[in-house]
């Protein structure tokens, strides 16, 4: 197996940019120069064979990226960024309790939810209903992303303990959401 193949596989599978140091950890017999030459050579091969991607050198290492000219097509892929745990919590509360005010969400979670709410609205997962106070509701996009036909497809909260019961001794019948 040639080093160039291994280097390619390493950069391909790395989460984020991969530094030369990380590569040398796995290929201790290679040199810094050799890695640089390998990447140059790989990119030359990609160019020659009409690949739509290449290895970019970014500040902290190497990473694969598709070439700029394909970006008009890639925009059609509708990437939605991953949500933080806080955002999923807020989303869950609104899904079960909505339409509800920010105050309700904050009370249930015991922490302020402003920034998570903002993310959800930006991602079109939550919409705002006019009124005093403002109310938050989940959107059609929410249903699509979570693969639900309607909000009533969400399971009953009392059923959660089947696998999410933290402790068998804790009876969860008496709960906040009833």
């Amino acid at each position: 197996m040639r080093n160039s193949e291994i280097v390619e596989a390493l950069i391909f599978s790395a989460e984020g940019a991969l530094s030369i140091k990380d590569i040398l950890n796995i290929l201790p017999d290679a040199s810094k120069q050799e890695i640089e030459d390998i990447v140059t050579e790989l990119n030359r091969t990609y160019d020659r064979s009409g690949r739509s991607f290449m290895i970019e050198k970014v500040s902290n290492g190497y990473m694969f990226a598709t070439k700029k000219e394909y970006s008009p097509y890639l925009r059609g892929l509708h990437k939605t960024k991953r949500l933080s745990n806080a955002a999923i919590e807020v989303l869950a509360v609104i899904a079960y309790k909505g339409p509800c005010s920010k105050q309700t969400v904050d009370n249930i979670r015991g922490v302020d939810s402003s920034s998570a709410l903002r993310t959800l609205v930006d991602n079109h997962l939550v919409d705002i209903k006019a009124g005093r106070p403002l109310k938050y509701i989940t959107t059609k996009r929410f249903l699509e992303v979570f693969g639900l036909n309607s909000i009533s497809d969400l399971p009953d909260i009392a059923q959660f303990q089947e696998i999410f019961g933290e402790d068998q001794n804790i009876e969860q019948e008496e709960d906040l959401f009833l």
Partner: protein, 233 residues
């Protein structure tokens, strides 16, 4: 001693039964059930002698097999396959056959080249990751994480059952009529939570100098006496 294998080797009682059947080179269809029952019970007994903690399912199966064997030995008194009713031996065989299928399916599944072990997908920086992994389970997980953080809402029933305060009151009132009580005597159930509550209540009473806790020897039974009782330490 060849029976003494680690119980963790078996996923459950069905797995252990299948092992015994294979070991005896029995065929599931023409299964001689009695030797298998005996070997299963032997195995469970040895585990218990070695103080190995067994999942309750192993014991449930043991008592079921004891019942089954008694039925087989007393055919005239208990007809185990009364007309129309399911024959328990056939039922057990069916369960074993289904489990064996699934066990085999699981083996086949685990032989497949696994993503993140044998094959690696294109890596993504944490921030670039998509929403693709969002599903109902993540919503449920979020709800339960809120619940576990705000436990005071969900624990009310449990706390009502064994509270330290109530246990303190109970101990004090029993002490009024008796000179000393062993801690274990206070327990009405064998629930761990109750034992813990009793111990906490006793410690709290001792802290308040209402009672004294006495343990005669190392690892001896602990008992409680009233502060003014004449019992010596």
């Amino acid at each position: 001693m060849e029976f003494v294998l680690h119980i963790s080797r078996f996923e459950g009682p069905l797995d252990l039964l299948l092992y015994l059947i294979e070991k005896n080179k029995f065929n599931l269809e023409e299964l001689e059930i009695c030797p298998i029952i005996d070997q299963y019970l032997d195995y469970i007994n040895q585990m218990r002698c070695l103080n190995i903690e067994l999942a309750s399912e192993f014991l449930d199966m043991a008592s079921y097999l004891i019942w089954l064997k008694s039925c087989l030995l007393l055919p005239s008194q208990v007809d185990i396959a009364q007309g129309g009713e399911q024959d328990p031996i056939e039922e057990l065989k069916k369960m074993l056959a289904t489990y064996r299928e699934m066990k085999y399916a699981a083996q086949r599944l685990s032989e497949r080249p696994l993503l993140f072990h044998d094959r690696f997908p294109r890596g993504w920086a944490e921030g670039d990751k998509e929403l693709t992994k969002m599903n109902i389970a993540s919503i449920m997980k979020a709800i339960s994480s809120i619940k576990s953080r705000t436990k005071h809402y969900v624990m009310r029933i449990e706390r009502a059952r064994f509270t330290v305060k109530e246990m303190m009151r109970k101990i004090t009132s029993v002490l009024k009529t008796r000179g000393k009580i062993y801690l274990v005597q206070m327990a009405g159930t064998d629930e761990k939570l109750e034992i813990v509550t009793i111990l906490m209540a006793a410690l709290e009473l001792s802290r308040l100098s209402t009672v004294r806790l006495i343990q005669g020897k190392l690892f001896g039974e602990i008992y409680i006496v009233g502060k003014d009782s004449g019992v010596k330490d």
